[in-house]
């Protein structure tokens, strides 16, 4: 396996897909902007009469689409439906996509129309598609773009409609009243330029999402070039940047380890303007900085860090969510950051974690280009609509498995290790208070023992042990004789340990949830999670991402979850297990006893 290049492996698995990528004529999955040349939606054909039991797609009445991936037309179908359907689950045989209003509007924003969507559904569907569903698709898609926000020489910003009744309907809403000014004519109304974000939010909630054609300010120019010395942007990264740039603003969805930082850097190089980058924490900020210095023409002096410790504002400034959302006496003292320069581009790292106040600030930044980067659009607080209206529609999306198949991220072998608690532990578990039960079963001594055995099995491989509870981590650190990184660990110490881990000086590292986000540990080959925030899928995605960076020897990564049998731990694990299986990862369950044997 190790000797075969990623490309050969990919070509072997997906010959047709590989052709498409190589010739760059057809792209595997493409999201493009509205501009005429980049639209690669499937050509319009007369809908063929569907023959029963032929197509790879089954349209369910709950608006899910089941794609049988072993079908010969599955690859074509996947490409055709990707622009408008959200991939929900991608286990080994049948992938589930879902038609949602947001997904359909994303497609509209990318230049697809309802007829194309209906055509695709009819063309690939195995069974007759319910008429009501087709009507619903057309109706939903027809809602996008009835209202547009555009520049106006006199009024600055106007909301214009192609359907007067819709305008009347939305104007009757109480929420709209403070956002709009005087009526320009029967079909348009002036909008206070400062409310460009809010009005988009409100309109989305009213079910009439507005298309924002008001354009962007260029911002203060600043020369930025990619320094492609010895490396190149991967094809999908290029496509992502293209998709974003032509769309103006929006979100790029790429799996962990697929090089989202580079997409950000390439976007900056395209914008060639001052850039504000918002990231989750200080470590992540430092890594962005290091990466930008390495991959672009930017020098250390041009990049500022705006965090709890430093407050530098430079042509490229990296700020943490935490510092931006700090509140003192009811005001946000660091809001000046947004106005301190004429930013040409704002990059949001890990959009799915964006704290609520950031949305509010973002609403005021609608004239700036905004790039959101994330591994998943699923937000556990359900504010996907705000991401859509304030940062922008999804501009690019590639499923994990596909990028893995292309060899850019490492394949992973996920193993759930079931640990049988000792009798004494079970007794203690049964008598524990309900709120303590998870903590108890997640941190039992038996788990520590099994974890040690696992680490021993993988001696010589870079191993991360990830957990939730500090005392458990401390205990593990002691047992494994490995350093522990947790919330109270200083940043300098953290970076020292990470560097040592990167260099192979340390082979085992115990980390708390502080390491969940945006740390870059290229050579972690094995991850062992011993406890987590209950059944969080998002956390699972992040942790899996730790081991997905491609290994130098092309080996598959190992991802262990140690789970206490017959306890609530097992229930939470089932959630995570389902998530992994839905992402298409091979998943096994073994008993800890078998592991030893």
């Amino acid at each position: 396996m190790g000797k075969i290049s990623a490309w050969e492996r990919f070509s072997a698995v997906f010959p047709r897909l590989a052709d498409g990528v190589r010739n760059t004529g057809r792209r595997p999955v493409v999201h493009t902007g509205r501009s005429s040349f980049a639209v690669t939606a499937p050509p319009i054909e007369r809908p063929r009469v569907p023959e029963p039991t032929s197509g790879p797609l089954i349209v369910q009445s709950d608006k899910t689409l089941l794609l049988e991936i072993d079908h010969e037309a599955a690859a074509d179908c996947r490409r055709a439906i990707a622009p408008f359907a959200e991939l929900e689950r991608a286990p080994e045989h049948v992938h589930t996509y879902r038609l949602t209003p947001l997904g359909l509007w994303n497609a509209r924003a990318a230049g697809h129309d309802a007829e194309q969507v209906v055509d695709v559904l009819l063309r690939y569907s195995r069974y007759p598609v319910p008429h009501a569903l087709l009507v619903d698709v057309a109706e939903t898609m027809g809602r996008y773009g009835r209202l547009t926000l555009a520049k106006h020489p006199v009024h600055g910003l106007v909301l214009t409609t192609t359907d007067r009744a819709v305008l009347e309907e939305v104007l009757r809403s109480k929420k709209m009243a403070p956002l709009v000014g005087q009526r320009v004519d029967a079909d348009s109304v002036a909008v206070h330029p400062s409310e460009r974000g809010q009005i988009k939010q409100v309109l989305l909630k009213l079910g009439w999402p507005a298309e924002d054609l008001a354009g962007y300010v260029d911002g203060e120019a600043h020369p930025i070039e990619l320094a492609e010395d010895g490396w190149h942007l991967r094809p999908y990264q290029k496509e992502a940047v293209e998709g974003f740039w032509h769309g103006g603003s929006g979100v790029v969805v790429l799996p962990c380890g697929a090089g989202k930082t580079l997409v950000g850097a390439a976007a900056m190089a395209t914008a060639k303007a001052t850039t504000l980058i918002l990231v989750t924490n200080t470590v992540s900020a430092r890594q962005w900085k290091a990466e930008l210095i390495k991959r672009t023409s930017l020098t250390e002096d041009e990049i500022g860090e705006y965090s709890g410790t430093r407050k530098e504002i430079r042509p490229v400034t990296i700020a943490t969510y935490q510092v931006v959302t700090t509140r003192r006496k009811g005001v946000y003292p660091h809001l000046e950051l947004f106005d301190s320069r004429d930013w040409g581009l704002i990059v949001y790292d890990e959009v799915h974690l964006l704290p609520a106040p950031i949305f509010r600030f973002t609403a005021d930044l609608q004239a700036r280009r905004r790039l959101g980067l994330t591994a998943t659009l699923v937000r556990e607080d359900g504010r996907e609509g705000d991401v859509f209206s304030l940062i922008g529609p999804k501009r690019y999306d590639a499923p994990w498995k596909e990028i893995e198949n292309q060899g850019y991220i490492a394949p992973a072998d996920c193993v759930e290790v079931r640990v049988t608690l000792t009798d004494a532990e079970r007794l203690a578990y049964a008598t524990a208070e309900p709120e303590e039960r998870y903590r108890f079963c997640a941190t039992t001594a038996t788990k520590t023992r099994v974890t040690r055995e696992l680490v021993e099995q993988h001696t010589g491989e870079q191993t991360l042990v990830i957990g939730q509870y500090i005392d458990q981590l401390d205990e593990l650190g002691e047992t494994l004789n490995a350093p522990v990184i947790k919330g109270e660990t200083r940043n300098t110490e953290r970076e020292r340990l990470f560097e040592a881990f990167r260099q192979g000086e340390i082979s085992v590292l115990v980390v708390s949830k502080v390491a969940n986000f945006s740390i870059d540990l290229p050579e972690a080959a094995v991850a062992i999670q011993v406890s987590g925030s209950f059944g969080s899928r998002q956390e699972e995605a992040q942790r899996l991402g730790r081991v997905l960076r491609p290994k130098a020897d092309g080996r598959a990564a190992r991802f262990y979850s140690v789970v206490a049998r017959d306890t609530i731990d097992q229930e939470f694990a089932a959630h995570r297990q389902r998530f992994l299986a839905e992402q298409g990862y091979a998943y096994r369950i073994v008993d800890a006893d078998d592991l030893r044997g």
Binding site: P52, T64, T96, R578
Partner: protein, 823 residues
């Protein structure tokens, strides 16, 4: 009651059975004088056509033609047949009613217009339905039709002679003078003279020609009806030479006639002349054109098949859910609003659609109340029969029921006349016109080439033309709903009638199913198992596999495919109902197209490992477990204290309380206990699907008797003929033997029989009666009681009750009641 000459009214009295209308008219002798005679002269085929067009006449089958004629002229029956006429035929009826009795076909044609090729057809239809009878030069409209048409048919006022009936002679002479006619001796002569003048179309036209423009304006207001206007002092005497206003000018010439102190009326002759000799301004001999949309017939069939498949699926999903316990029956009958909402959520459809599936299942007899004290809606045994049949047949059953049911699902969720909510399954969802509207609409679509759709508005207009009286209310709503429902059920696809729907309309359910079958996905015997613990059935499954999977997994998504999800509880359910882990593994390996994923195998083994580890008995409820630690755990668990368990042995606990409660508490604590019988056997508790006792179909609420079949009609015609022959010959017999007015004489036995019959029918009879003084008399009595040699009867003339000794009654004869004209 205008007109003279023979009318059908002679038949509306109640004594035809023996006495009949005009006695002594031989069959087929010349021109029929009554409807009965007209009917008698018709062929059997014509009579059959009448009965077919008016099925209400066959229930019960009339005894003879006279009775048939009577029944055919009752108000209810005539109203019913008028409801079924199209707009043009009704226009012809209007025109016929305007004319006096005994009018000619030529006159009718004048009123309708010369160049209307549809007229003969309409007249034929009216004749066939016995609304119009008589030869072409002496046509009669059934009296009831005239009554129903009202005083102002087609917006025309009364004939001049009628309008002037109450006018004083002096006034009439003034009018004559005003019109330049010579005075007459009396009022009758004056009216006749005026009627003559007005009957002359040309003379009247000339008179109107000379009217001043202001008077023409007044007439224009009345000409298209209503023909009455309000004028102050309408009945004041006006002379032509004193007329000052336009109204006075008209009144003086009887072009307007006072109908009261404040009202004037436009005489019919004037109205007709002003209308140019026609009755209708806009004649509609043809239904309005349909704006049709051509679609690919194959796509139509495919779309309909998809909808049909979904329809069957939805009802099945719903009733499977209810098999485990249906919702409560409301006290007033029906299904609660909340339950409807729940069904909508469970099926993931709108409430309106949910109501359709519910009502359809109900109308098909698949669901009914279980009749228990705490009544619930449950699937019926018929559901099991239905479920066992192929999808296409199941569909044809549903679609057939939908077509004929009087239930209108669209009414569910609306409010009735008393502002009460209309509930599914409840009363108030029935509309007698619904099946007719469905047939009419779909029949119209069936008349178009395959794959042709038409807009709802056009279909509505078309329906309104074909049945203007019937279905006027509710119609627009019903049409819209019918089209939506037809689409959902899959009778139509993309608005056009599918071929299966076409077969359905002609009543060929089996053929409809055959046509549908090739379009439906074929049942599969395999699924795709996946590591995320789902099984995807990429199409409908064979029943057996579907049932097994249903037991071992939960359904997550339905549609063309079904997504099943395995979980600890679903696997436990399968184990609880007697499956073993090995059974499940075998199920997976035999039916999976893909390798069985390791997590699924592990899940089954893991649940099986724990399944039944705890066993609970019913003696006083005990728990035993080979694993002492489990029992320690349980005993120590504070949450289990409610069970008050104590240790019986190292591996056995006893608990107070019912085993059920123990089981559920243990399960809630996360164990997988198993019930044990008193002999130590494992008790298998698979929840049996609940069913009602056998149920018949809900009654169709309909105002219509069922349409009689050809056999019935033939039999009816034969019976009527036979009865008629018997009746007419008897009449002749009595008429010849006995001079009218003579004392009837019959034997004692005949007398008794005749009286009994008369008593049963509450019919008046003549009797010859010898008074106490020995005087022979005749009386008409209605016998009320007959016992002990005495007849208690109402005397016809005095209206008093009398008792007559039987031995003094010399004879009985039927009473002949006839119109003076006939006798």
């Amino acid at each position: 009651m205008v007109g003279s000459g023979p009318t059908v009214s002679g038949m509306t009295t109640s004594t035809q059975r023996s006495a009949g209308g005009p006695a002594g008219v031989p069959d087929g002798a010349g021109v029929p004088r009554t409807l009965a005679e007209d009917l008698r002269s018709r062929t059997d085929a014509e009579l059959a056509a009448l009965l077919r067009a008016r099925p209400d006449l066959t229930t019960p089958v009339p005894v003879d033609l006279t009775q048939l004629a009577t029944r055919a002229t009752t108000r209810a029956s005539v109203a019913r047949v008028l409801e079924r006429l199209d707009r043009f035929t009704l226009q012809v009826v209007d025109a016929a009613v305007v004319l006096p009795e005994g009018f000619s076909y030529a006159r009718l044609r004048e009123l309708i217009g010369d160049d209307v090729p549809q007229l003969p057809g309409a007249v034929r239809a009216l004749r066939e339905r016995a609304l119009l009878w008589g030869p072409d030069d002496g046509l009669h409209v059934v009296r009831t039709v005239r009554d129903l048409a009202g005083a102002t048919p087609a917006g025309l006022g009364p004939a001049l002679a009628v309008a002037l009936a109450g006018t004083g002679p002096a006034r009439l002479q003034d009018v004559l003078a005003g019109l330049g006619l010579p005075p007459t001796a009396d009022a009758v002569g004056a009216i006749a003279a005026l009627a003559d003048l007005f009957g002359d179309h040309k003379a009247l036209a000339a008179l109107l020609e000379g009217a001043p423009p202001a008077a023409v304006e007044v007439l224009d207001k009345l000409v298209w009806g209503p023909p009455t206007g309000i004028v102050r002092g309408a009945d004041r005497p006006v002379r032509a030479d004193e007329a000052n206003t336009p109204v006075e000018w008209l009144l003086a010439r009887a072009l307007l006639v006072p109908a009261g102190p404040q009202t004037v009326v436009l005489p019919r002759e004037v109205g007709l002349t002003l209308r140019g000799g026609r009755v209708h301004r806009d004649l509609e001999p043809e239904p309005p054109a349909l704006g049709i949309v051509e679609r690919d017939a194959q796509i139509v069939d495919a779309a309909a098949a998809g909808a049909g498949f979904t329809a069957v699926r939805r009802i099945e999903d719903l009733l499977e859910l209810w098999s485990l316990g249906g919702p409560a029956v409301l006290r007033a009958g029906g299904l609660g609003v909340r339950d409807l909402k729940r069904v909508a959520a469970q099926l993931d459809v709108t409430e309106a659609e949910a109501a359709l599936w519910l009502e359809l299942a109900y109308a098909a007899g698949l669901v009914a109340g279980d009749g228990e004290a705490d009544e619930r809606w449950l699937p019926t045994p018929a559901y099991d029969t239905w479920r066992g049949r192929p999808v296409a047949e199941r569909w044809s059953v549903l679609a057939g029921v939908w077509l004929e049911t009087t239930r209108v699902p669209g009414l569910v969720g609306t409010r009735d006349d008393k502002d009460r909510p209309v509930n599914a399954f409840g009363p108030g969802v029935d509309r007698t016109t619904a099946p007719e509207v469905r047939h009419a609409l779909l029949g119209r679509l069936a008349g178009l080439p395959a794959g042709t759709a038409a807009p709802a508005a056009d279909l509505l207009a078309d329906l309104a033309w074909h049945r203007p009286v019937r279905t006027a209310r509710l119609r627009s709503e019903l049409v819209d709903r019918t089209l939506v429902e037809a689409e959902l059920i899959g009778v139509t696809g993309r608005g056009a009638l599918a071929s299966a729907g076409r077969a359905l309309l002609t009543g060929e359910l089996a053929r409809a199913a055959d046509l549908l079958t090739p379009l439906l996905p074929t049942p599969l015997d395999h699924v795709l198992l996946q590591a995320d613990l789902t099984a995807v059935a990429p199409g409908p499954l064979v029943l057996e596999l579907a049932q097994e999977l249903h037991l071992a997994a939960d359904i997550e998504s339905t549609g063309g495919a079904t997504v099943y999800r395995f979980s600890e509880s679903s696997v436990r359910r399968a184990l609880d109902s007697g499956r073993t882990a090995a059974d499940l593994h075998r199920l997976f390996t035999t039916h999976s197209r893909t390798p069985v994923p390791q997590p699924l195998t592990y899940l089954v083994d893991d649940v099986a490992r724990r399944h039944g580890r705890l066993r609970v008995g019913a003696a006083s409820a005990y728990l035993r477990c080979d694993d002492e630690a489990v029992l320690n755990e349980l005993l120590a668990d504070r949450r289990a204290h409610g069970l008050r368990m104590r240790r019986l042995a190292p591996t056995v606990l006893a608990a107070e309380g019912a085993p059920d409660a123990v089981l559920s508490t243990l399960r809630s604590l996360g164990y997988a206990p198993m019930a044990e019988s008193s002999t130590g056997d494992v008790v298998v508790t698979r929840p049996d699907a609940l069913r009602t006792p056998p149920r018949s179909l809900p009654p169709r609420v309909t105002g219509e008797p069922p349409a009689p079949g050809a056999t019935l009609i033939d039999a009816a015609v034969t019976a009527i003929r036979a009865g008629d022959r018997a009746a007419t010959s008897r009449q002749r017999g009595t008429g010849d033997d006995e001079a009218p007015g003579e004392l009837p004489r019959t034997s004692a036995a005949e007398t008794l029989l005749a009286l009994q019959a008369a008593q049963a029918d509450r019919r008046a009879v003549w009797i010859g009666y010898v008074t106490r003084e020995g005087r022979a008399t005749q009386r008409i009595i209605v016998p009320l009681g007959l016992e002990g040699g005495y007849v208690t009867a109402q005397e016809h003339t005095a209206g008093e009750l009398h008792t007559y000794p039987l031995h003094r009654i010399t004879g009985v004869a039927p009473v002949e009641v006839a119109e003076p004209a006939d006798s």
